[in-house]
Amino acid sequence: MKNDLIPSSPLTVNWAITNKCNFACNHCYSRSDTKEELDLEMVFTILDTLSRAKVFSINFGGGEPLLRKNLLEIARRASDLGFAVSMNSNGYLIDRDMAGKLKEAGFAKVGISIDSPQPDIHDNFRGIKGSHARAIEALKYLKGAGIETSISSVICKINIEDVDGLVEMALSSEVANINFHNFKCSGLGFANKDILDLTPLEWRDFYIRAIELRKKVNGLRISLEDPIISQLGETGEETLVKGSVCGKLSLNIKSNGDITPCGFIPIVVGNICTDDLMKIWNESPVLHKMRNKEPQGKCLSCDSKSDCLGGCTARTLALTGDMNNPDPHCWKNES
């Protein structure tokens, strides 16, 4: 089994199928995005394109994907074409009936965003009262319907003291996975970064704790997707590539068909409706640059450089303007 392979096409596509949302989160990366949506016929054409490109899985996001008309029909088609279909939702609209419909439509996995084990903190953060309770209910209904569930939490000031609580919540909700997302500082996340983002040393402490929990806790996968944890001798997901996976294994499609390397990088590399997907994948100078990062500054003398490659490309780009700079969350040489 070999390393460092850039697949001939994306393995996964994240697709913001709508940007409509029933929430008003402080860290939203897409609220300012276009509200334009593709019609059903175009969505089906895109599914065929992705199928020809042998993409494995499609993860619907947004916005709130359940606000997309025909979501179930779209998912059914995707799953008939052989994709592993999943989505990220805030869970507010998932009751028992909807969970059953999602299962029927072919959803294999659904991730629900919950940012705190404390209902009031989550509700405040997400801007909707009662949203925590409904998210927890949603997990129960989904599991009951036979769909694999996960929780996604964006780590920031509001939950940093409660990482153990998040894990306990995940265990009691019997999810397969909890994803700790690093704070990306894109979209509204950028505007609110001063009140939400952690300092590098806080990030270090968070990751030390999360890794301890990952080793200790049974029956729950704790996913950490941040390349800078290679400093702690850890890796994020088990992938074939080093550093950020952005632009190497997956692509992001926006609600109007624009393609970006990931949901947190606002650089449009083409449009799935009008451009050739394979040409973009193979020839985009932006993707090329992301796949061949040349970390600078303190990265040059860092022992973890070959694994970390300068950290999270999206965050580094958002905060410093140059993806080759050291990741601003990195705590090396910080005291």
Partner: protein
């Protein structure tokens, strides 16, 4: 004993790399490092070289003997060497939960 691919594992061949590896085989180059297919399972990714890919494709209920016999035709290696390679590959696959036996 029959060996099967885990149906939950998603996999695909990488056409270009496969062609490259096939060409290499013809000209006698070492193609062991060329990944010609990708498997995705349980959030983990695996890349197989051309021999691995050909073994993987045969795992639809064939026995070890049948796999060896079938691959013997395509790869110019001694049967014993091939058998050992296949056994090592299968035990790695089994450890990763990518195959099962019946």
């Amino acid at each position: 004993m029959k060996i099967f691919r885990n149906p939950d594992a998603m996999w695909r061949e990488e056409d270009e790399s496969r062609d490259q590896a096939n060409q290499g085989l013809e000209t006698g180059e070492d193609v062991a490092d060329i990944g010609t297919s990708i498997i995705l399972h349980s959030g983990k990714m695996h890349s197989l070289n051309i021999l691995g890919t050909e073994i993987w494709k045969l795992l639809d209920g064939k026995s070890l003997d049948e796999i060896v016999a079938s691959l013997q035709e395509g790869f110019e290696v001694e049967e014993e060497v091939l058998r050992e390679d296949i056994k090592t590959f299968l035990s790695e696959m089994k450890e990763e939960g990518l195959i099962y036996e019946e």
